[in-house]
């Protein structure tokens, strides 16, 4: 690495360094948005890994930093995999079914960026579990 010669240069390096660090700072923040991708055997078999890669890639492209993407266990409806759950703080979670790469990117573009739900892809508007 070359020498940093001004505060501006440092801020540029910081920005670059933050990119690989956002994963950690975002998960610690209170108002983060969570995207959970079902990653059980059925999910992986129907392409959840590719979906997740697409979602992460789209977020990076759009420079969105307040979203953390995590994988989770079986969502229970294997027929509809890959399943993706979007959780805004203080809002009921939204679960999308049959999310391929394209639909994954669409979730970022519409739901995350503009707050518009993908009505035709929603599996169940309120998804409660015994835990909650």
């Amino acid at each position: 690495m070359s020498k940093i010669k001004s505060l501006d240069e440092l801020m540029k390096i910081r920005e670059e360094a933050e990119k690989s660090f956002n994963l950690r700072s975002t998960s610690e923040s209170e108002d983060r948005v969570q995207i959970r991708v079902g990653m059980a055997t059925c999910g992986i078999a129907s392409g959840a890994r590719e979906t997740m890669n697409a979602i992460v890639d789209e977020l990076e492209k759009e420079n969105i930093t307040n979203v953390s993407v995590t994988q989770t266990g079986c969502m229970g409806f294997c027929e509809e995999e890959p399943i993706v759950e979007v959780l805004f703080p203080d809002k009921p979670s939204v679960v999308y079914s049959l999310v391929d790469e394209e639909r994954g990117r669409e979730i970022i573009q519409k739901h995350i960026k503009q707050g518009i739900l993908l009505e035709n892809a929603i599996m169940n508007k309120s998804f409660n579990t015994a835990r909650e």
């Binding site: 690495m1 070359s2 020498k3 940093i4 010669k5 001004s6 505060l7 440092l10 801020m11 390096i13 910081r14 670059e16 360094a17 933050e18 990119k19 690989s20 660090f21 994963l23 950690r24 700072s25 975002t26 998960s27 610690e28 959970r36 991708v37 079902g38 990653m39 059980a40 055997t41 997740m52 890669n53 992460v56 890639d57 990076e60 953390s68 993407v69 995590t70 994988q71 989770t72 266990g73």
Partner: protein
């Protein structure tokens, strides 16, 4: 493509000792075996503070906190959590009072009351990667100081923040820096005192191991403020990991121009050199430390002249402790007003404490000044081990004192601790329960200071030795009431006449226990009893004839065969042969042996 998951493995002293390095290797192997090396990054980080339950592994972005993770668990973490996204319940922390498993560390009572400023990056960043420090405001304070502030501005901010030295004395840091500017010299020095020597204390070590750059940055800021271009870090050779991380950090800082010449194009030069100490306790005293840096014997000299006037090589020098320095970048970045809002009227900010002794959550905690001991011990510390009764807490190490339960609700800061006969010290906090004998505790600390006294001045060299002899006499059951008076008289004479801080504070553990636990001393002296059953010479074991069923269990375990009696007959201990080992007491199933 960047990593989708980060796995942080604690590399702090405690976790490292429980094989966290092997765990990290195993995790990496498993990640590779599952073809996840491009998705998951496993890295080492500094102390999370929750040493009681180490090794700690934290998984991002799920924000899951695993405790007591062994290398054998690596396979399951990778196969279950990383591949399938299922949390491993058995490795989660279970809140003892509620009996619920908690996944996120923020929910844990241990972390709820903490405010981490000096430890802000410990357990969050990779200490061996300067980029992670850059991503968390790293070196911004230095950049701001040298390009936008005058040295006077910097000193004023530190003064206004109210920061006081975290090494023990609590001297205002800004004032210390200001003194050094009053003397003209061709060279001045900034010294970081990393000679942490209190038994059981590991605050500074954890900061250096977990966030070394914060100390380097602060030293450069201090250098700019007082007009010094050279810094020394005096660190004990017993801290090999901290030394290693510091070496890496210094090399990275030089490479990126954060240390060296013309920093941020401002014309300011600053370099840092490591000096390894041989681990003498007295070298934590600043004048002794300076002599040690110069290659002389680590012995103190009288002040004045203070180091600010004549320090290393006779030049103006400031000596700051590690934790003090770790606060500096935050003060510059967030402003002195922000910092001054935290804490009490005269003690601002936070303090890191190393919790140890008879407490459930042994570890490293950082709390705002003004918190009470009750909050630290019962809420953060999770209370006393095995449901025993709290007796006292020892703060300030060998220079401090013991605080009894009547002060549990006193808000703690520099001044309140001195008022109740102890001191902040560097932040060691050892919790004692009903099984600890206060005379014995005082003896333990005095043994330490007698051992570590450099011998230069008579009150410390001879006085403390005499003090220790009296304590030994008392614990052996040979004490007289006059001895208690002598302890007080001699103790206060040593405090008044010793040359340096070591001698001036060495009698504190004796004097404070004598003040708050005088009844224990009196029991030793007058009744020849040790109420806690610790001092062996004052113990006796007796068999209660009514309760003895003659099972022979005691006679069989007695190592000196001093218990006589036939099966199903009452047994008797021969007091003249008994070595008071307590084996019979442990072995008896019928509570027939009386300890007293």
């Amino acid at each position: 493509m960047s990593y989708k998951m980060h796995l942080l493995v604690c590399g702090g002293t405690g976790c490292h000792a429980s094989d966290s390095d092997i765990l990290l290797e195993t995790l990496r192997e498993e990640i590779k075996a599952n073809g996840l090396e491009n998705d998951v990054q496993a890295l080492v980080t500094g102390c999370f503070g929750f040493c009681e339950k180490g090794p700690i592994v934290k998984v991002y972005p799920d924000n899951v906190f695993y405790i007591e993770v062994k290398p054998e668990d690596a396979k399951e973490i990778v196969a279950e959590h990383l591949v399938k996204g299922r949390r491993i319940e058995r490795l989660l922390y279970e809140e003892p009072t509620l009996e619920v498993k908690l996944a996120e560390h923020k929910e844990m009572p241990f972390y709820k009351k903490q405010l981490r400023i000096a430890l802000r990056n410990c357990g969050f960043i990779d200490p061996e990667n300067i980029n992670e420090y850059f991503a968390n405001d790293g070196y911004q304070a230095l950049g701001k100081a040298v390009t936008q502030m005058t040295p006077r501005d910097v000193i004023d901010s530190v003064k206004e923040s109210g920061l006081r030295g975290r090494g023990g004395g609590g001297f205002p840091t800004g004032m210390k820096w200001d003194f050094a500017t009053k003397y003209d010299a061709d060279q001045k020095y900034v010294v970081c005192n990393a000679d942490e020597g209190d038994p059981g204390a590991f605050m500074d070590r954890s900061i250096l191991e977990g966030d070394p750059h914060s100390v380097l940055e602060a030293m450069a800021i201090a250098g700019y403020a007082i007009g010094a271009s050279h810094g020394y870090i005096y660190i004990r050779a017993e801290y090999p990991l901290a030394i290693e991380r510091l070496k890496i950090a210094i090399a990275q800082a030089k490479e990126t121009g954060m240390l060296g010449e013309d920093i941020f194009g401002s014309g300011f030069n600053f370099d840092i050199e490591l000096k390894l100490g041989a681990g003498a306790f007295v070298c934590g005293e600043e004048t002794a430390l300076i002599h040690s840096i110069e290659g002389k014997r680590g012995e103190p000299t009288t002040k004045p002249p203070f180091p600010a006037e004549s320090g290393v090589w006779g030049k103006p020098t400031i000596v700051n402790n590690v934790e003090t320095l770790a606060n500096i970048p935050v003060i510059i970045n967030r402003g002195s007003d922000w910092f001054a809002k935290i804490g009490t009227e005269k003690s601002k900010g936070t303090k890191v404490f190393a919790l140890a002794g008879k407490i459930n959550n042994v570890g490293l905690v950082e709390v705002p000044m003004g918190i009470t001991l009750r909050e630290i011990i019962y809420e953060i510390g999770g209370g006393i081990k095995n449901g025993k009764k709290f007796k006292a807490v020892q703060t300030g190490g060998p220079s401090g004192g013991c605080i009894s339960d009547q002060f549990l609700d006193t808000p703690i800061d520099y001044d309140s601790l001195i008022q109740i006969g102890s001191m902040m010290g560097s932040g060691g906090m050892i919790v004692l329960d009903e099984d600890d004998c206060m005379v014995n505790i005082a003896k333990f600390y005095l043994e330490f200071t007698v051992e570590e006294s450099c011998g230069k001045c008579t009150p410390c060299r001879v006085g403390n030795k005499r003090l220790l002899e009296i304590l030994e006499k008392i614990t052996e059951g040979k004490g007289t009431p006059e001895d208690l008076k002598m302890l007080e008289e001699l103790g206060s004479a040593i405090k008044d006449t010793s040359l340096c801080g070591l001698g001036q504070t060495a009698p504190n553990p004796v004097l404070s226990t004598l003040k708050y636990f005088r009844h224990e001393y009196e029991a030793h002296v007058n009744e020849k009893k040790c109420p806690s059953g610790v001092c062996q010479n004052l113990l006796s074991y007796e068999i209660i004839p009514d309760k003895c069923v003659g099972c022979t269990a005691c006679a069989r375990v007695c190592p000196v065969n001093c218990i006589e009696g036939a099966p199903k007959k009452v047994h008797v201990i021969d007091q003249s042969k008994c070595i008071k080992c307590g084996a019979c007491y442990e072995a008896c199933k019928f509570d027939a042996i009386k300890k007293g």
